[in-house]
């Protein structure tokens, strides 16, 4: 590593501009980073944070601007050059091969490609050495598939450290962690900066910016709007810089819950191997009630969503909707029973990107007499319906015939809301409904969910974002290893307690619920 004179930045981005078609993702961004400092890159979804870091790491090539690491220009478009210059990146979607071992994942690409042998012994010693030095416990021979999310993140960090990284970039590192795990991560990062590393972490959460960073750079609409010493700023100032306007969080009016619309009674869903996806899970959602399901990803939330969507069936236990037991329902059946389903992945499950807006809007009801007769589609009626939804749900698109994949994430989500909410649902299943959306779209989605609640629907909100759960839920339950805690009233449970529950410390449950709740 070339020595850098003290006071000189280790990294300098100058005038970075990146366009995707008509969209300007980064607009003349300039930024410096110093050794031993922890910089937070703050901005809401779509502000261009990830794009900027992807340019730095060579995944993208900037249209304009230069990157300098340790005083030398970095050739654009080459992750290899970035790695060689001492830059490491922990991606939000981990870049690990699940079927290979931890050691394999760390080693790949670190030895000369055409060497006739591979020195696994030395690599393993080095990995264990690093793991001990920075307090990042790993099992080198375990396959990645068997690791928890937190362990996978440790592998990603060790991958970077193994390559002598001096500048470490982390993209939304806490998104998938419990609050306690997040605190542990920032402790680790502190040890790294004490060792002279420079760290950049991307975030849209104010609390962790103040908890961890020395300096904060705020991006909005692709432009760098400010850099501040964290200590010299306030959450209010940063929030306004980040959003550019003041945002009013939704304030759900208190409501008396009605009769149950969804009830799971000791539902078990087997996984085919190992522990079940759902393990004797019980849960009740009532009318006029938002139930938030918190948990670290991979603890059965997808199975719960699939179950309520009609994609999988209970192997044991009972599932009832509005008092009627549901046997082996399929998605069409669930739709008929009045379940509005907002899937976790808009692109993969929610919409058919290659088809038009109107075709997607009738997808759940194309066999209704309203949209087809004698097997022939009533295209005019379908288009008219699409016009209505576009207007009522404020979908920004060229019209009913536009191809869906060209819409922005927020507008896709509005399309799904329009498809499902337009028919007066009994129950709304919202799986990660605001993932990747900007602040405006987030508050729109929350507003619509609360509106449906006011009209008498029950809402099951599954989210990995604790802030979201806390913002709109009446009651909260936590999932861990396929099990679900009893409902915890929103006002009786704190972030710390939720974090412990998410990590499996269910021994604290009696303290939260108390004797009175137990009796009922």
């Amino acid at each position: 590593m070339p020595p850098t004179p003290p006071g000189q930045p280790v990294l300098r981005l100058a005038g970075i501009t990146k366009r995707f078609g008509p969209l300007v993702a980064n607009d003349a961004v300039s930024l410096e980073l110093h050794a031993g400092e922890m910089l937070a890159l703050l901005g809401e979804n779509g502000a261009g944070k990830t794009t900027l870091m992807n340019i730095l790491f060579g995944h993208y090539v900037a249209d304009e601007g230069t990157v300098e690491a340790f005083g030398k220009p970095l050739p654009p478009g080459s992750p290899r050059a970035a790695l060689d210059a001492g830059i490491g990146m922990v991606h939000q979607h981990f870049t690990l091969a699940d079927n290979l071992s931890v050691l394999d994942n760390v080693m790949v690409g670190t030895e000369p490609l055409f060497r006739l042998w591979s020195d696994r012994g030395a690599a393993k010693r080095r990995l264990l050495d690093l793991s001990e030095r920075f307090g990042l416990a790993v099992r080198p021979d375990a396959t990645v598939a068997s690791l928890s999310v937190g362990e996978r993140q440790r592998v990603e960090i060790l991958k970077a450290l193994y390559r002598n990284t001096r500048i470490l970039i982390l993209d939304e590192p806490t998104a998938v962690l419990t609050p306690q795990e997040a605190a542990g991560l920032f402790e680790t990062l502190r040890r790294l900066t004490a060792d002279g590393l420079a760290v950049v972490f991307i975030s849209h959460k104010m609390n962790e910016v103040f908890a961890a960073s020395d300096r904060v750079a705020v991006l909005r609409g692709g432009r760098l709007v400010a850099t501040r010493r964290t200590a010299a700023s306030t959450p209010e100032e940063l929030a306004e810089l980040m959003v550019g306007r003041s945002v009013k969080p939704p304030t759900p009016a208190a409501m008396e819950p009605g009769e149950p619309v969804l009830a799971l009674t000791r539902v078990t869903v087997a996984s085919g191997h190992g522990r079940p996806l759902l393990d004797a899970a019980s849960l009740t959602v009532r009318r006029h009630q938002v139930v938030g399901i918190a948990g670290v990803s991979g603890n059965g939330q997808s199975a719960l969503a699939d179950l309520v969507s009609g994609l999988i069936h209970p192997d044991d236990g009972r599932l009832t909707l509005c008092g009627a037991e549901v046997g082996r329902a399929d998605p069409a059946d669930m739709i008929r029973r009045g379940v509005a389903r907002i899937p976790e992945d808009r692109h993969a499950t929610g919409l058919v990107g290659a088809m038009s807006v109107w075709e997607n809007l009738i997808a759940e009801r194309h066999r209704d007499p309203a949209f087809s007769r004698f097997g022939v589609l009533r295209r005019r009626a379908a288009r008219a319906h699409a016009e209505t939804v576009i207007r009522e749900f404020d979908v920004r698109c060229p019209g009913p015939d536009a191809r869906t994949q060209l819409l922005s994430g927020g507008n896709m989500q509005k399309l799904i809301l329009g498809r499902t909410l337009a028919h007066g649902p009994q129950l709304i299943l919202a799986s990660q409904p605001t993932r990747g959306l900007d602040v405006g779209a987030v508050s729109y989605v929350h507003g619509r969910l609360l509106e449906a609640r006011a009209q008498g629907a029950g809402v099951l909100l599954i989210s990995e974002d604790l802030d979201e759960i806390l913002a709109v839920s009446d009651c909260i339950a936590v999932m861990y290893h396929g099990r679900i805690t009893p409902l915890l009233p929103h006002d009786r449970v704190g972030v710390g307690q939720l974090g412990l529950l998410m990590a499996g410390h269910w021994d604290i449950l009696p303290d939260i619920i108390g004797e009175s709740a137990h009796a009922s």
């Binding site: 998605p331 499950t349 759940e364 097997g375 022939v376």
Partner: protein
């Protein structure tokens, strides 16, 4: 360099793509023609004349195009639903087999009854042949490409077994061929003293019907959704398995019909060289047409013209008629690239 999706693909561009692909394939084949020692312009002129230059040539081309339209539709329907049916060749032979059995005098029915029966039975046989791999795909996740390909060989051996056994024509001078179908089971000729038969009208009608189903009906809508994103289709409540099997029946049925039509309209009896690879060429037809049912008609006529023209050309020059197969293969590969360039544009960075 990277590829960026075009927001809209103009109609002109999607018509230009196959034209460009064919032009590129013709250019590449010119190298082979030149290698054969023939004059390229003369060879191509002979080819065009042989395929389109006379009334007789035209009817020959259309005769050749008839099974290609049907196998092209078979591939287009299946590929649209992402069912990779590469077994049209086998399905065609199963259709032909059933046609010669039922049309060979087993029933003494009037033509207006027997002919539809024979054709429908042929189509059913083709559909049933694809149903097996389709069930294996949806039930066990077995890749249908390999199973349909392997079935082609099994079907050919099965047909060969019957042609040397139970179905062997006693009047066939020992050749492995079936007895001919009776007159009531023959498709009428369209033009006197040519080989062009009513199968062409059937193929054209089915292309139009499929276009209507594809764009206007619930079935077509569901097929397109399943093809474009099966997970989303399932999530929206569509019976994906049933749609897949339905598609398999239609696709295999079209290929089976191609075989039945060849037997009842053209050959009259079944031999092992009934199809010079119509099943495989159908894939190229479908791709050139960008899976559009009406486009299939145009692409099938083009491919037929290439084969008929190449035969004429190789009789007059030293160029082997396998040039047609090379040209067809290159058209497919060029079409893939052209289709990509129509849907995406190249951008640096």
């Amino acid at each position: 360099m990277r590829l960026e999706a075009r927001p809209h693909v103009p109609l002109a561009l999607s018509l230009l793509a196959p034209a460009g692909a064919v032009a590129a394939a013709l250019l590449l084949c010119a190298l082979l023609v030149a290698w054969s020692g023939a004059s390229v312009p003369r060879a191509y002129a002979l080819m065009a004349e042989g395929a389109l230059g006379s009334r007789f040539a035209l009817t020959e081309t259309l005769t050749r195009a008839t099974p290609l339209i049907l196998t092209g539709l078979a591939a287009a329907v299946a590929f649209r639903a992402k069912l990779w049916n590469i077994g049209a060749e086998g399905q065609l032979y199963m259709g032909a087999l059933v046609a010669v059995v039922l049309g060979g005098g087993l029933f003494d029915l009037p033509s207006w009854l027997l002919l539809p029966l024979v054709l429908i039975a042929g189509a059913a046989a083709g559909g049933a042949t694809l149903l097996g791999p389709a069930v294996l795909k949806v039930r066990f996740g077995v890749d249908e490409v390999v199973t349909t390909l392997l079935l082609n060989f099994i079907v050919l051996l099965f047909v060969s077994m019957l042609l040397e056994g139970a179905l062997k024509d006693p009047m066939g001078m020992g050749w492995p061929q079936s007895a001919p179908v009776i007159e009531a089971a023959e498709l009428p000729k369209l033009v006197e003293r040519t080989r062009l038969h009513a199968g062409l009208l059937l193929a054209l009608g089915l292309a139009a019907l499929l276009w209507f189903v594809d764009t206007r009906t619930v079935w077509g809508y569901e097929n397109r959704a399943v093809g474009a994103n099966p997970r989303a289709a399932q999530f929206a409540g569509m019976p994906v398995t049933r749609i897949m099997l339905r598609t398999a029946l239609v696709s295999g049925g079209l290929a089976g019909l191609a075989g039945a039509a060849e037997v009842t309209g053209l050959k009259g009896y079944l031999t092992l060289d009934l199809s010079p690879g119509f099943g495989y060429s159908g894939i190229v037809v479908a791709m050139l047409a960008q899976l559009h049912p009406i486009g299939v008609v145009g692409a099938a006529v083009f491919i037929a013209a290439v084969f008929v023209g190449a035969d004429a050309m190789s009789r007059a020059t030293a160029v082997p008629n396998y040039i047609a197969d090379v040209l067809v293969a290159l058209s497919l590969l060029c079409m893939m690239v052209a289709g990509l360039l129509a849907r995406y544009r190249l951008r640096r960075g």
